[in-house]
């Protein structure tokens, strides 16, 4: 009944308007539109009242008549081409020609005729036959999209070519120039096409991914594609880092080694710019005033954590180098695992990079500290742009364009859930079962939705979810605290026991972290099942968010810990000591006096990241091996339990998350260990083959439904979040962090950024000022804000469109009813049950007062539009008005007084 009163309200609006201004006809028209709109609402409401039988009174014969209508004539061409060209705003004259012929009742009987017809029509289309590349491309597309067997297409193409060439010969004298142009551009088009084809045929891991997708479907394939994407991205970064940072550094080292006899050099202060665009000067002080004690041969070789290069600071320490020089580190047996020892003196870590310029040629100087900053910054920016672009594209395709038709979930399940790429019988069986379960679940969900839950139960559900979230967050906090305590105690213990760095000691922490990263997400997966999220996708998302939080907590604590120790003056002694332990014992005596000079926290942190990456790799490999052994052991077993099933399943989301974790490690460690991209690259490559082997040989595909497109977007968004956080952390450290004073490219500066400020004078000041301005938090926030606004705008536009779609949909429904009604009428006329309607008749038929003659038609019609007495209970105005739509020409005069 509620809807009833509402209906009246809706209907009243236009009515009042009419009574207000019924003088001019344009107003009248306007009100008609309103009336119509209001009626649309009425229609729909009535439809929801399940009175559909009233509308669907047409059946049987009438229905068959309806099929004869042109719009229902789903001819082979009609549907596709109108839609294609309609959506792309392209005219297709040839198609109109064909349709016109059809409308005239001409349709081909034999295949030859059909070919002839199409060819003729296409030839008549000027745009299609135009002699340029656009025409050629268009022809190709039209032929490709034609719903005809290949044989027919071939025939059509041959005819078209023949006609075109004869046509060309006839008009050759006129357009020789054009012809030349055409041939040239056509050749260019073909070359480009073949190059693209070659890239397509030989793209990285093309065959492997094909094979995997063939056996396991697109879900598993999407994991491997993500892996490939990260591989290519990291490869780019590796090239940049190696090209602009590693090579110069190695060259500089080589250069120093060969021309070392001198101990002290005046660092030449130049303003010359290299071809790379960096111009190089001494970083550590004002131009021309600073003397840098350059590295003696021995110090360079030790490099690593303590390189006592003295600096422009007031206290010049040149002392300890002498004692240390003879201790060039040898490669220890465990070094490759811990990343300490010998590695500390390689270019793997921050500490080894030099802070001064070097020159291979005269007047060309390359400043490594600047290069260090710019290369790392560039790497971050490239990552950011590439991934942001990807996220935006995915978001646009999979959410903004699509989201508003979420109602169509059943349709999607039915029409696009079969994965045609599956070739394995086993995979097919699993897919069948998964589709069955999914449809069943969806149906139950839909049915249970109809009976709404009580508010008490809903409240309880919310409380449980909140509680679980609180528990998870608190335990994450505790975990973070525990990690912190462990790091601290680990370092204290180091001091007491004086364990050598070559032992397993440093491996404990990364091992624990890796185990946490692998085990806790499983726990999350179990927890989320208890929580009672009804929609599986929500379950997945919640687990994802928690896992990412976990990773961020762990890494955040790690970086934060080292950072605090670097900044906090009280703690330096401790860290210092620990650091010394990693070195040589006798150095410890000196360390007291050399606290600041010796300590290089960046390198230590870099080592942690190295260890995390390596240990993670080994743990994964061991796990895969264990699974393989398990598989072999249980292969002969006939009854396979749930655990068996669980262990041998390829969990796409967990594996993808693991990739993201790896990538996050890379981003977090990039500054401290600039060669992480190389490590990750190697790791990804090996992982690809390991995973491929295990997937093809013994794992089973995930039985849960995997909506690749949308979940991929979520994964990329998560990647982006971790990247942005790493980037911000990097920015924070650059601006606020204390650079180690004795090692690395930024030695001698209090904050990292100071080195750049010092260098920023004269001609480059502007550039650097702009640069620093961009880096300011406010500006970054502003840029992010603008991005958000843009996304918001795009989304609102999409929402607007969705609204429009709704309106049009209603309109469409109305039109269909109109059509049905008219058909019914014509049918009656044909049978002679209804007199043909002259205008006068219509006028007479419409208002009940003036023509009580045709009551049955009237009721039918009114029930068709809406029930009269329902809509207008109060007889403010006479009913006739509601038929105005049908008697447009005559209605206006009736409204005038």
């Amino acid at each position: 009944m509620a809807s009833y009163t509402h209906t009246v309200e809706v209907e009243n609006i236009p009515l009042n308007e009419i009574s207000g201004n019924h003088s001019s006809s344009s107003d009248d028209e306007h009100s008609h539109v309103n009336l119509r709109r209001a009626r649309t609402d009425v229609h729909l409401r009535e439809r929801h009242n399940r009175e559909s039988t009233k509308y669907h009174s047409y059946s049987g014969r009438e229905r068959r008549v309806q099929y004869m209508l042109p719009s229902q004539h789903g001819g082979e061409l009609l549907s596709s081409h109108t839609l294609h060209y309609g959506s792309e705003h392209r005219q297709s004259a040839w198609f109109n020609t064909v349709m016109a012929r059809r409308r005239r009742g001409v349709s081909p009987n034999t295949e030859d005729e059909a070919v002839e017809e199409l060819a003729d029509a296409m030839e008549g289309d000027e745009k299609l036959m135009s002699e340029n590349v656009d025409g050629e491309i268009m022809r190709r597309e039209v032929l490709r999209e034609l719903y005809k067997p290949l044989r027919v297409k071939k025939e059509i193409r041959r005819r078209l070519t023949a006609r075109r060439s004869s046509h060309r010969y006839s008009s050759r004298t006129i357009s020789r120039m054009q012809y030349l142009k055409y041939t040239l551009s056509m050749r260019w088009y073909k070359i480009r096409q073949s190059v693209l084809d070659t890239f397509h045929d030989y793209s990285l891991w093309h065959k492997e991914i094909k094979e995997i997708e063939g056996t396991f479907g697109t879900g598993v394939g999407s994991y491997f594609k993500f892996l490939r994407y990260l591989f290519l991205l990291n490869l780019t970064i590796v090239i940049i880092v190696c090209g602009f940072l590693l090579t110069p550094q190695l060259l500089a080292r080589l250069h120093d080694d060969t021309s070392m006899p001198h101990t002290t050099t005046d660092v030449p202060v130049t303003t010359g710019a290299t071809p790379l665009g960096f111009s190089f000067k001494n970083v550590s002080g004002k131009p021309g005033t600073v003397r840098v004690v350059s590295n003696s041969p021995a110090t360079t070789s030790v490099a690593g954590t303590r390189r006592p290069t003295s600096l422009s600071t007031t206290t010049k320490k040149v002392i300890p180098s002498i004692e240390n020089d003879d201790t060039t580190k040898v490669f220890g047996p465990l070094d490759w695992l811990t990343g300490a020892g010998w590695f500390e003196s390689t270019e793997l870590y921050y500490g080894t990079y030099r802070s001064d310029s070097f020159s291979l040629m005269k007047d060309v100087h390359y400043n490594i500290s600047r290069a260090y900053f710019f290369v790392i910054f560039l790497a971050y920016v490239i990552y950011l742009i590439v991934i942001l672009h990807r996220v935006i594209v995915l978001y646009k395709n999979n959410y903004i364009d699509v989201e508003h038709d979420m109602s169509a979930s059943f349709v999607k399940k039915v029409f696009s859930s079969w994965d045609f790429s599956i070739t394995e019988k086993k995979a097919a069986t699993i897919k069948h079962r998964s589709i069955y379960n999914e449809l069943k679940e969806l149906l139950q969900e839909f049915l249970s939705e109809e009976q709404e839950e009580g508010w008490l139960r809903q409240l309880a559900g919310w409380c449980i979810k909140l509680l679980f979230w609180a528990i998870v967050l608190v335990s994450l906090g505790l975990l973070g605290w525990a990690m912190y305590a462990m790091l601290k105690s680990g370092i204290d213990k180091d001091i007491i026991t004086k364990t050598d760095s070559s032992g397993f000691g440093p491996l404990v922490y990364p091992l624990i972290v890796t185990c946490i990263i692998i085990i806790v997400p499983w726990v999350f997966g179990i927890i989320v099942k208890v929580e009672g999220y009804r929609i599986p996708r929500h379950r997945l998302y919640v687990t994802l968010i928690r896992t990412i939080l976990l990773e961020l907590t762990v890494l955040g604590v790690l970086v934060g810990f080292w950072y605090m120790h670097a900044v906090d003056p009280n703690s330096t002694t401790h860290t210092d000591d620990s650091n010394t332990n990693k070195g040589i014992g006798d150095f410890k005596i000196l360390s007291e006096s050399l606290q600041e000079a010796d300590y290089c926290w960046e390198t230590s942190l870099g080592e942690e990241f190295y260890r995390l990456l390596i240990i993670d790799f080994f743990v994964v490999v061991i796990m895969q091996l264990a699974t393989l052994i398990f598989f072999v052991a249980t292969q002969k077993q006939i009854t396979k339990g749930k655990i068996h099933h669980y262990l041998l399943e390829f969990d796409i989301s967990r594996n993808t998350l693991h990739l993201i974790y790896n990538q996050t490690l890379l981003w977090a460690g990039l500054f401290f260990c600039p060669l992480t991209p190389v490590i990750v690259l190697l790791k990804i490559t090996i992982m690809f083959y390991i995973q491929k082997f295990s997937v093809l040989k013994f794992l089973q595909p995930d039985e849960r439904p995997w909506r690749a497109a949308q979940t991929e977007t979520v994964f990329f968004a998560l990647t982006l979040v971790s990247l942005i956080l790493s980037f911000l952390g990097y920015g924070f450290i650059i601006f606020r962090g204390n650079a180690s004073s004795s090692c690395g490219p930024f030695q001698g500066c209090h904050h990292y950024i100071d080195c750049l400020w010092n260098a920023a004078n004269n001609n480059e000041k502007k550039v650097l000022n702009i640069f620093s301005w961009i880096l300011k938090p406010g500006v970054v926030a502003g840029i992010l804000g603008i991005l958000f606004i843009l996304v918001y705008c795009a989304k609102s536009i999409a929402e607007g469109r969705a609204e429009m779609i709704k309106v049009l949909r209603r309109q469409l429904e109305l039109e269909v009813r109109d059509k049905a009604f008219l058909l019914q009428l014509t049918d009656k006329v044909r049978r002679g049950e209804y007199r043909p309607a002259s205008p006068a008749h219509i006028r007479a038929a419409s208002p009940p007062r003036s023509s009580p003659a045709a009551p049955q038609d009237l009721t039918q019609r009114s029930s068709f539009v809406f029930t009269d007495n329902k809509v207008h209970p109060v007889h403010v105005e006479p009913e006739p008005r509601h038929f105005s739509d049908y008697t447009d020409a005559h209605s206006s005069d009736r409204y005038s007084p």
């Binding site: 290949l150 027919v152 039915v414 790429s421």
Partner: protein
């Protein structure tokens, strides 16, 4: 060496390339696959017509519940037997490069079991049955499912889906283009 190269001239390859969504290499590969189904016959006549049973031994079609339908749709004689060109046509439509609209058109034909240019209730039931194959829905569930599908997609309320309606819904499904794909 041959790779079936001997059976096609460059011009023919070019023609095929223009009419399908394949590169030349892929066309040759497709022919290789086709030839392997019946070595002698195809070796003799490269465009030989293979019976449907033969085609269905291809793993891509064998595991597919709609494999038979696909043969029917793409067969130029409409009896399920396919020549190489028909086969190439099929693979081209299912290739990665084929646009969504083309895929949608053929998908519509595949799901239209009775061939009346509409997806009626019967067609939908058949589709769902094939999708879940060894499992089975109770008549009531099936009824509810079909009704839901129609309610969502049937814009003009005539109790079945015309192509325009089908394409409209399919265009909203981001997974469709991914799933309607065969990797040869």
């Amino acid at each position: 060496m041959g790779q079936g190269n001997s059976q096609f001239t460059e011009a023919e390859l070019e023609e095929y390339q223009e009419l399908t969504y394949f590169t030349k290499k892929e066309i040759l590969y497709a022919h290789k696959r086709f030839k392997n189904l019946a070595l002698e016959k195809v070796g003799h006549n490269r465009n030989a017509k293979l019976p449907m049973d033969k085609l269905l031994t291809l793993p891509e079609l064998r595991a597919n519940p709609f494999g038979e339908r696909m043969c029917f749709i793409f067969s130029s004689t409409k009896d399920g037997d396919c020549t190489f060109e028909d086969f190439l046509d099929m693979m081209s439509v299912f290739s990665e490069a084929a646009p969504k609209s083309v895929k949608a058109e053929y998908a519509f034909r595949i799901f239209d079991f009775d061939g009346d240019d509409y997806l009626g209730r019967r067609d939908l039931e058949e589709t769902i049955t094939k999708l879940v194959s060894p499992q089975r829905f109770s008549p009531g569930d099936m009824e509810a499912l079909v009704s839901r599908v129609l309610e969502e997609a049937d814009l003009d309320d005539d109790g079945m889906l015309a192509f325009a309606e089908f394409e409209h819904v399919i265009s909203k499904s981001p997974d469709f283009a991914d799933s309607f794909r065969i990797r040869l």
